[in-house]
Each structure stands twice: as C-alpha cells, then as structure tokens.
Symmetry: D2
C-alpha cells in the first residue's frame, strides 16, 4: 500500500450555484492526488505518457458526505491499494480544514499502449517500484 | 420508470491530451440528461432550485467502456429508475454516433432544503408527476 | 465575411456561486461557434487537426455586458471577420433568450504545424473556401 | 501598485488534445492570483462575497505567447495596477519553470451589490487597505 497526502484550496470556478464544489471537479482533485503520489515515489506520470503509456480510468466512484466550499483548504489522501497485471487501484479520502469528511473515491486505472490503444503490462521500472511497497 | 434521450457534440475543451473526453466531464453530460428529462416531464430544475430546493448528488459512479472523442455526436439515455422518500435514482447510458457504448453511470440525488441544508421531502407537485410514471 | 449562429443552453456546472456563467466558460462557447461555422462551410476542424494543422489562439478578448444564467437559452453569432497569411480573426456576439446582449468577443487564431509547432500557411483547400467569401 | 506571485502545477484535465493548457483555463489561474493577492493584504474575497459584495469581471483579455504544458510548474505574477470608484484593474504575467513568458492578461473588475446587482462603491475597509499602496 502506498499513500500520499496533498492539500490545496478550492478555486472559485470550481463552485456551483449551490455554493458547493461541483461534483464533477472531484475528478481533477483525485487526478492531482495520483500524480503527486507517483512523483513522490519516483514515477513521473508525464514522462510515462510521453513514452507511449497512457493510464485511463475504467471506473470512477465518489461518495459525497459533506459539501466542499469556496476557499476551503482541502486535504486529500490518495492510496494505491493494489495493482495486478494491467491495473492500478486507487482510493481517496478528502477532508476539509475542520477535519470533516467531504468525500471518498475509488478509481481503477488501466495501462494502455498509446499507439495500439490496447491494454498492456506496465513499464518494468514502474512494476519494480510499486512491488517494493506491497 | 422515466427515460429520455438527448444528443450533443463533444466540445474541444472537454478532451484531454490522450484525445479522450476527460473522465470528469461525464458529470456535466449526465447533469444535462437529468435536466432535460425533468423538463420534458413538466419539471423545471432551475425553478425548483429558485424555490429553495436543491438536489445534490450523494454518489457518482461511471463505468467507462470506450473513449469519447472530440466532435463525436453522443447520445445519452437518462433513466429515472426509482424514487423514495428524499431520494431520486438516475442511471445513464452514453453511446457515440456509431452505436458504441461509451459509458454507463448511476447517480442517486437527495432533496435538500437550501436554507437549512437538510434533506427534505420533495415538493408535492414533483412527487405527483413522478408517481404517475411508477 | 462569414457568419453563423448557434444556440445552446447554459449547463449547471458552468455557473458559479454568484449565479453567473463563470467568465472562463465563454472560451468553450466561442470555440463551439467557430467549429460550427467551419462545419457549415465544409471545413471540419477535427479533420484539419488530425491532418497535422492546429489552430491555437494568439489572443482572447471578451467584454461582459450582462450575466448569463443557468438554463438560459443563449444565441451565439460567430463572425469570421478577416484572414491573412497565417491568421484567422473571429468575433462573437452572445445574447440570451430575451435578446439581451451578454458578451462580445474577439479571438485571433494562428495556423500552426502540429509537428514543428511553427506558424504555417493554412491548407490550400481552406484558403480557397474562405477566399470565396471575401 | 500591489503585486503578488503564486506558483502551481498544470493539472491533467486543464490540457487539451494539442497538449496545451486550454486557453479558457487561464481565467481560473488569474482568479487564484487575485484571491491570493487579496488574502496577503488582509482581504478575504470569500468573506467579502458572503457580506453581499460580488466582484464580476467587465472584460477579460489574454495574450498567449507560448503554450503551457501538462505538469508545468507555472509562476503567476498578479498586479493590482489601479482602482477607481467601483473598479479594480488587475494585470497578470504567467511564466513557466524555464522562465518562458506564457501569457499576459488584464481583467477590470467591478464591485456589485449582490442583492441589487448594481455597481457599488467598495467596502470602506477595502478602500483603506488598497489606498495605502497607491
């Protein structure tokens, strides 16, 4: 299991007319969480993609507990819970500056060859780095 | 059960550097589907909200089958599968112009009083309109 | 001069906590306007890009007169005002369903070779189609 | 004149199929710049808005020099160049991690009473804080 926590402010444009972070914006938050978790473990997502390996989501799930509001200082814990074959499974726990649970999420991602657009086994370097944590 | 189908083009800004509709944008698509389904059955979402009833999501789930691409002419079927107490359950089936299945989704929504921010029973008018379909 | 008008509804996720369409979303609206103007004159933006010609903006200007609101049925007039060498100049007039002027915009765009990322003269086919209107 | 500089990474969802930050996303960047400049000078934008004063843009101008790319570490200088009556004028200079100029922008903003939706003179506290810099 690999975990990493980032924090960031809610931007004005992310909030809807209810005053809540629009539910679709959690996708961007979780994506930042994944990118930073990978970076801190020596894996640069951009380089991987530039080298022909893309990592699209196969599913996206969020459970909303409490709304996030404009200018909230959110804390996002990202957890790489498992990997197997062509797949990485991430989970997310999002809280606000008061410690309130905002949302939880899950996203399985699949390694895909950017030329063939077919699932592929991930780069060896990545398997080795990830394996050392499990 | 109430169903409705809309179609729309993928916008340029919705597509990421993989060339795929970014997975977070499906939230906006499903939201359009809900709004139009309600409109066609005599319910104006904006008026409801202006009258103090908001309808946030409690969960958001998407399963991605095939990427949607820039300029694709997508067809979205929205299904109000059930309602009960304070909750409406919607499901979604998204296809492209070739009939390929792009994604399926589920979003339970909860009626909330915009002043108290507490769950509430939906407006009577809405219950009556919906009940006639179930 | 080439003009084209499209109409579309404001989406829920496009509106901010003031209840206004967030000012950054006009970029997506104008982009739809350009794409549809080109399509109606036999030019497919996606095909052009797939053939290695991209068309980034060099500037973006909007003057906001009146806010656009959720569920408004907007009408966007797009005008290709001039072209010269490597550049196309578009202007935009956005109105709501009451005829109120919402915004006006201007976007010069530059033809760029997607491989070299340098400005280039546009495809001959495109020059010919455009020239016939000026 | 008041200036402030922030830095932040380009998010995956902000980049389009050209591999460039989509031009509409600069609006969100500049908005972060304004919010943080105000915060560092004792003005909380959220509180101001919660107290009934909103600050919509009257114009938005960007000149794009060089594309911003995914994962770039951007540096944004925000400058409050002048204020007068009901208006604040901000300018922006955006650079990447190599010091390349990415874009420059200008946004005049107008103080508006959130109830009447009419322009208003800004809160006294804000005038005093701003005046001390000019």
């Amino acid at each position: 299991m690999i975990t990493d926590t980032i924090s960031f402010r809610v931007r004005y444009n992310e909030v809807d007319r209810m005053g809540y972070v629009h539910h679709g914006n959690y996708a961007a938050y979780f994506e930042m969480g994944r990118t930073e978790l990978m970076r801190k473990h020596g894996l640069n997502y951009k380089e991987m993609e530039d080298n022909g390996v893309i990592l699209p989501l196969s599913e996206f799930y969020v459970k909303y507990y409490s709304p996030a509001l404009y200018d909230d200082n959110l804390s996002l814990e990202t957890i790489l819970t498992s990997y197997s074959g062509v797949r990485l499974n991430f989970e997310y726990i999002l809280k606000n500056q008061h410690g309130d649970l905002i949302a939880e999420g899950k996203t399985p991602l699949v390694f895909v060859n950017n030329t063939s657009r077919k699932p592929m086994r991930p780069p060896k370097e990545l398997i080795e780095k990830i394996s050392s944590y499990f």
